[in-house]
Amino acid sequence: MTGKISAVLAALLVGCALSLVNAQYQARHLFIELERAQAKARQLDIEWAQLQLDQSTLGKHARIEEIAHGDLGMTQLTPARTQYLTEGEP
C-alpha cells in the first residue's frame, strides 16, 4: 500500500518539476517578447518625434511662402480682390 502511494507521489513530483521547467521556459520566452515589444515601442516613439519634427521643419511658414512666391508664382490676397458673401443672401 505504502509502495503505491510513494509511486504516485513520485510521479506527481516529477510532473511538478517538469511543469516548473516548462513554466520557467515560457516565462523567459514571454519576457524576451515583451522586451522586444518595448524596444520597438521606444523606437516608434523616437520615430514619431522625429516625424513630428520633420513635419514642423517642412511646414515652416518661411519655406511655404518661398515656394508659393517663387515656384508657384502666387501672390498675397488683398481685401480689394476679395468678394465677401453674407450668409442668407442669394
Binding site: F31, E35, I46, Q50, L53, S56, P79
Partner: protein
C-alpha cells in the same frame, strides 16, 4: 641454527606462550593518542559547522550582494524632455536621442592612422584637432557631444578600440530664429537656459526611471528582479503662441528693421479675449540650433526684458484717467497756445501750434501740452495709481524669466514738470509688453486681464479699471489717430478693417541723459478690428536711421502689415468697406 630455533618456538607454543607475545614486539600505545584523534576530528567538524554558520548566518548579506553584482545590473531608463508646441500643436522644440562620443586616449592612439583620419572626418574636425584632444593623460575624454545617430553608427563601424558612445538627447528647434525668443533653448545637458525652456524647466524635464535585471553572459536581459521604477517623460508644453502670426510678425519686423536701417525692433500680438500672447518677435534674432556666434544683441528680448520711455503711446492712459474721473469730456476744449508751455524753468513743446483743440484732438494730434494740462488738473496720486493698476512699474507675473518691471517713481516726490512729462511718457519706463497690456482696458470695455504664454482654456476674470463708457470714448479717439485729418498714424490703416491706435516717439536715454545726437525709439500700439476688438498689436523700432524716425512713420506701417496678415490668417471678417487705402507717406510731423 634454524632447526634449533624452530624447535624452541614450538616448545614455547606448547608451553602456552604465543610467539607474538614477544616482549620486543609488544607495543604499548598511550591512551592520550586516541583522544587526540577524536578531538581533532571533533574540532574539524566544529570548524565546518562554524564556517557554515558564518557563511549562512553572519556574512550572508555580503555574499548575496557579491553574487548579485556578478549577474544583476541596474539599467537607467531615460526620460525624454517634453515637447514644446504652439497653440495648434505644431512642434516648436523636441528632443531626439543622439550619441556623445568619448574615448580612452591611450587605447585610441594604438589604432592605425588611417582609422584616426576617418574618425576625424566623421567627427567633422581636423586630424590635428582630434589628436590634440587625445593627447591627455585622463582616461575619459569627450570627443564630440550630440552626434546624430547615423554618424555614431558609422563611427561604431570603424571599430576603433577605446571609442565608445553614451546616449544623450539633442533638442531641435524647427522654427529657428522666428520663434526663439519665445521658446528659448537648452544647454548641452538638456537644461533650459532661456524663455519658456527655462521657465518650465521643472515640468519639462521628466524623471529618469531604473530597473534591476539579470543579464546573461552575452548581455541579454534574462529577467527583472525587484520592482521597476518607470521613467516619467517630461510634460509637453502648449504655448499660446500661434506660429502663423508669429511668422507674420517676425518677417514684417525684420523687413521694417532693414528698411529703416534700425538697430533693433520688437513686436507683440495679444489676444484681447483671453490675454494670450499670440506672437512675440524680436529682431535681430538667432538660430537656437546653432548658437556658436551668439551675441548679446541677438539674445536680447526687447519685448520682455528691455524697458524704454514709451513716449506718446502712454497719452491715452492719462486721458482715460481724466475722462474716468470726470475732469474732462471728449469735446472739452483745451488751449495749447503757440505750441510752447513753460512750467517753472522747463519748456514743453508741440511740433506745431495747435491753439485751442478738444481732448479728442489732443490724442489725435498727439499734443504734449494738451496732455500735460489735462494731467496737471489731476492729483499726482491718481495718476500714479492709474499707472500702477495697468501694471507700469509692477513686476509682471506671467511666468517669463527676466521680465522687467519698468520704472514709475513714487508720486510723493513728483514735481509738477515731472507729472506733466510723465503724462506723455517721458520720465517713466515700461516694457513693450506692459505697454500693450495697458491697451487691454481700451480694447475690453475698461477691464484688464492677466497675460499668459500658455494656451488657456478658460476665460480669465477681468479687473475693472476704467468705466466701459470711457473705454469706448478712448477707442473713438484712437480711431481718429489713424483716420482723422490730423491723425499721426495714417499709415496704420488696414484695408477692410477699422483700426485704432497711438503712435509714440521717444528719445533714447543713455547714461541717465538723452543721447546726443538724438536717437529715437518709434512705437505704435493698435487695436484691430475696432468694431469687435480681437488683437492688440504693439511694434517698437529702435534707432531708425533712414526713411523716418517717428512712430507714425516706422512703427505704424509695420503694425498695419502685421495686422492685415494676421486678420486674414485668422479669418476675421472685415468691419469696414474701405478696401483701397492711399496712405500718405510724407514726412508728417509728430509730437513726442
Amino acid at each position: 641454527m634454524s632447526r634449533s630455533n624452530a624447535a624452541s618456538s614450538r616448545v614455547a607454543a606448547s608451553k602456552g606462550v604465543s610467539f607474538s607475545k614477544s616482549p620486543v614486539l609488544a607495543v604499548r600505545l598511550p591512551t592520550w593518542r586516541s583522544r587526540v584523534v577524536l578531538f581533532v576530528l571533533f574540532a574539524a567538524f566544529a570548524a565546518l559547522a562554524a564556517r557554515a554558520l558564518w557563511l549562512q548566518g553572519v556574512s550572508t548579506q555580503f555574499l548575496q550582494k557579491q553574487g548579485e553584482i556578478r549577474y544583476a545590473r541596474t539599467i537607467e531608463l531615460p526620460a525624454t524632455r517634453g515637447k514644446i508646441m504652439d497653440r495648434n500643436g505644431q512642434v516648436l522644440a523636441s528632443s531626439i536621442p543622439v550619441k556623445a562620443i568619448w574615448a580612452i586616449p591611450d587605447d585610441v592612439l594604438q589604432a592605425p592612422p588611417e582609422k584616426i583620419r576617418a574618425l576625424a572626418g566623421l567627427l567633422d574636425m581636423g586630424e590635428a584637432e582630434l589628436r590634440k584632444k587625445l593627447d591627455s593623460d585622463r582616461n575619459f575624454v569627450y570627443l564630440k557631444r550630440q552626434v546624430e545617430q547615423d554618424v555614431a553608427d558609422q563611427i561604431a563601424k570603424l571599430k576603433i578600440d577605446g571609442i565608445d558612445t553614451r546616449k544623450e538627447y539633442k533638442r531641435f528647434y524647427p522654427q529657428g530664429e522666428v520663434m526663439t525668443h519665445v521658446v528659448g533653448f537648452t544647454n548641452v545637458e538638456d537644461v533650459g537656459q532661456e524663455s519658456m525652456e527655462l521657465a518650465h524647466q521643472k515640468t519639462l524635464v521628466g524623471q529618469t526611471g531604473s530597473r534591476r535585471v539579470i543579464k546573461d553572459r552575452l548581455g541579454h536581459i534574462v529577467e527583472d528582479i525587484g520592482a521597476k521604477h518607470e521613467p516619467h517623460d517630461g510634460e509637453d508644453l502648449v504655448l499660446s503662441v500661434d506660429s502663423k502670426i508669429q511668422y507674420i510678425a517676425f518677417t514684417q519686423l525684420k523687413a521694417a528693421v532693414e528698411k529703416f536701417k534700425a538697430k533693433a525692433g520688437a513686436a507683440v500680438v495679444l489676444d484681447v479675449h483671453t490675454g494670450e500672447v499670440l506672437a512675440l518677435a524680436n529682431y535681430p534674432s538667432y538660430d537656437p540650433n546653432d548658437r556658436r556666434k551668439l551675441t548679446g544683441a541677438q539674445l536680447r528680448n526687447r519685448v520682455m526684458t528691455d524697458s524704454f520711455e514709451p513716449g506718446s503711446t502712454i497719452k491715452p492712459v492719462t486721458v482715460a484717467l481724466a475722462l474716468d474721473k470726470g475732469v474732462v469730456k471728449p469735446h472739452t476744449t483745451i488751449d495749447t497756445g503757440p505750441g510752447r508751455l513753460t512750467i517753472k524753468d522747463r519748456t514743453i513743446s508741440d511740433t506745431k501750434a495747435h491753439h485751442v483743440i478738444t481732448v479728442q484732438q489732443v490724442v489725435e494730434m498727439s499734443s504734449n501740452i494738451g496732455t500735460s494740462k489735462i494731467a496737471l488738473s489731476m492729483p499726482a496720486q491718481d495718476m500714479w495709481e492709474m499707472f500702477t493698476k495697468v501694471g507700469f512699474g509692477q513686476q509682471p507675473k506671467w511666468g517669463f524669466p527676466g521680465a522687467v518691471a519698468g520704472r514709475v517713481r513714487p508720486y510723493k516726490n513728483w514735481r509738477p514738470i515731472e507729472q506733466a512729462t510723465m503724462s506723455y511718457g517721458n520720465g517713466i519706463s515700461v516694457s513693450l509688453i506692459q505697454l500693450s497690456r495697458a491697451y487691454m482696458m481700451f480694447a475690453r470695455d475698461g477691464d484688464t486681464i492677466p497675460l499668459t504664454f500658455e494656451k488657456s482654456h478658460d476665460v480669465p476674470q477681468g479687473q475693472q479699471i476704467i468705466k466701459p463708457q470711457t473705454a469706448r470714448q478712448i477707442r473713438e479717439m484712437l480711431e481718429m489717430v489713424v483716420t482723422g485729418k490730423d491723425g499721426t498714424a495714417k499709415q496704420a490703416q488696414v484695408p477692410g478693417y477699422r483700426v485704432g491706435g497711438k503712435t509714440g516717439t521717444a528719445y533714447k536715454a543713455e547714461n541717465g541723459r538723452y543721447a546726443m545726437p538724438r536717437k529715437y525709439i518709434g512705437s505704435f500700439v493698435g487695436i484691430v478690428p475696432l468694431s469687435a476688438p480681437r488683437f492688440i498689436i504693439a511694434v517698437m523700432i529702435d534707432e531708425p536711421t533712414q526713411g523716418g524716425k517717428y512712430g507714425g512713420q516706422v512703427a505704424a506701417p509695420t503694425f498695419a502689415k502685421v495686422a492685415e496678415n494676421a486678420l486674414r490668417a485668422m479669418n476675421v471678417p472685415p468691419d469696414s468697406t474701405v478696401t483701397e487705402i492711399v496712405a500718405p507717406t510724407g514726412n508728417e510731423g509728430e509730437a513726442m
